[in-house]
Amino acid sequence: MRLKTFVWLCLLPLTLVVLAFFVLPMVRLMLVGGSGPQGLAAYATILTEPRYRATLINTVVLAAATTIVSLVVATIAGLFLQRTRFPGRSVLVAMLTFPLAFPGVVVGFMIILLAGRQGLIGDLTLRVFGDKLVFAYTIQGLFLGYLYFSIPRVILTIMAAVEKLDPSLEEAARALGAGPWAVHRDVILPALGPAFVASGAIAFATAMGAFGTAFTLATNIDVLPMLIYTEFTLSANIAIAAALSVGLGLVAWAVLALARSFGGGSVAAAG
């Protein structure tokens, strides 16, 4: 058999599987999205319908807030961990990256343990203030959950970028008289710029599409994935659900494409 034939044969199983179980379904999804009573206008309802728009804004704000806080936390912790050595450092790093493998449901459970009705925080505040603080099932709890699965991802990326920083640039700035704050502002943070964009985009896309966490925590919280879920399973608005899914998919894909243009590699959007 010639090499060319062999190569095509090698590609065949994958092509069949991906066509059957991804490409075709996605096309069908896009078609269904435009097949409801409103037709293609269903795609615009994500912006026009007040309830959907509110959900969209909720989701975007939550994802943006998660991204910003994760970046700040990860930069402080990441710079510190990558640049100092002390006993127990590798244990600390392992602890910070271990939650990477948790599915969204487990993250939701973690938040319940922290801030739920029988949660640790509720316990502590009861003892100290006499009032039990329960917020797992609110937007603050969801935000905490999003932070829970974002921080490990972002820390890993930032730490990798910090490792690649060129020390002679910092030395040059110091030689010219720059104090530690100026060195961070003028040399280190600008050099980390691409890493910020790449990991920030991944955090944002992951938070936008996060379902498991919201599912476990949310009874009343309005985020896009939950909306899609309820439209499909409870209201049987299949066309709307499909249209919203396609919209969500497009946004997530666009943001991640941006990440890749900054050399972001890829981490799965799972949450």
Binding site: C10, A20, F98, P99, A101, G104, F109, S245
Partner: protein, 266 residues
């Protein structure tokens, strides 16, 4: 000097707090899974009753998760390795386009993919109701990891040259593939396999939409227990999940550092 020490202490404290935020609930849940009564804490004594209860209620989900993870691995190996070879050898725009397409499932939320699958295959009720349906979703989601991992090792070991030298000795493409290419790609295959199994065991977003009461996986069962079971049982179930996942994570970490050292030695 004093200022440096203060800054160090401040950063350390901050990092410890973040680590605590992440680890404390996990530790709590592991503890709660073996404590007789969560409210009264450790003083109520250790017990395995919750784990036994988890086994009674959810043993099938654990088994099914392993089954699906194993099947996902087998499928991704069989379709991913040859495809990685083909893509690596062909290169060019088409290869890049195919890579893009198979990586799309990572960008698109699992919910959307699940919806798409449901809409397409709802009519095939036998398929839709079996665990194979979930398998299909898992394969789509984990395939890019296997393909990329194997393609990476192909670049690292310069598989093209190996292929050429084997062909100059008279081996047919199939023989070259089986005797030379696959054996030398073992590190990439192993890394990809660990990744696929770990992802499959923990997959929820897709699986939740695709499952039926008869085809529950462990994460689906977890969601169930969080909603309806008492805390100790939910914690014990989570503990079982951790016990399954942690060895895999450690294996991946060790593998990554071997890989770096090995790469450097080349």
């Amino acid at each position: 000097m004093m200022r440096d020490r203060l800054i160090f202490a401040g950063q350390l404290l901050f990092t410890l707090l973040v680590a605590a935020f992440l680890i404390v609930p996990a530790a709590l849940s592991m503890l709660a899974g073996v404590t007789a009564n969560y409210f009264r804490g450790i003083s109520s004594g250790f017990t395995l009753q919750w784990i036994v209860q988890v086994w009674d209620l959810y043993a099938d989900t654990i088994g099914r998760s392993f089954l699906i993870a194993g099947a996902t691995l087998v499928v991704t190996l069989f379709i991913g390795i040859p495809a990685a070879y083909a893509l690596h050898v062909r290169g060019g725009r088409m290869a890049r386009a195919i890579e893009e397409i198979i990586t799309l499932p990572l960008a698109i939320p699992g919910l959307a993919i699940a919806l798409a699958l449901l809409l397409t295959y709802n009519g095939f009720s036998d398929f839709r109701r079996s665990w194979l349906f979930i398998l299909a979703g898992h394969v789509v989601f984990t395939l890019p990891f296997m393909v990329r991992s194997v393609m990476a090792i192909f670049s690292a070991i310069d598989v093209k040259t190996l292929d050429e030298s084997a062909s100059s000795l008279g081996a047919s493409p199939l023989r070259r593939f089986l005797d030379v290419i696959v054996p030398n790609a073992r590190p990439g295959i192993l890394a990809g396999s660990l990744m696929v199994v770990t992802l499959s065991l923990g997959e929820f977003n897709l699986t939740w939409m695709l499952h039926t009461p008869l085809t529950k996986t462990l994460p689906v069962g977890l969601a169930d227990s969080y909603a309806s079971m008492r805390l100790e049982v939910a914690s014990a179930y989570t503990l079982v999940f951790f016990v399954m996942i942690i060895p895999l994570l450690i294996a991946m970490q060790m593998f990554a550092s071997w890989g770096e050292a090995g790469g450097a030695r080349k």
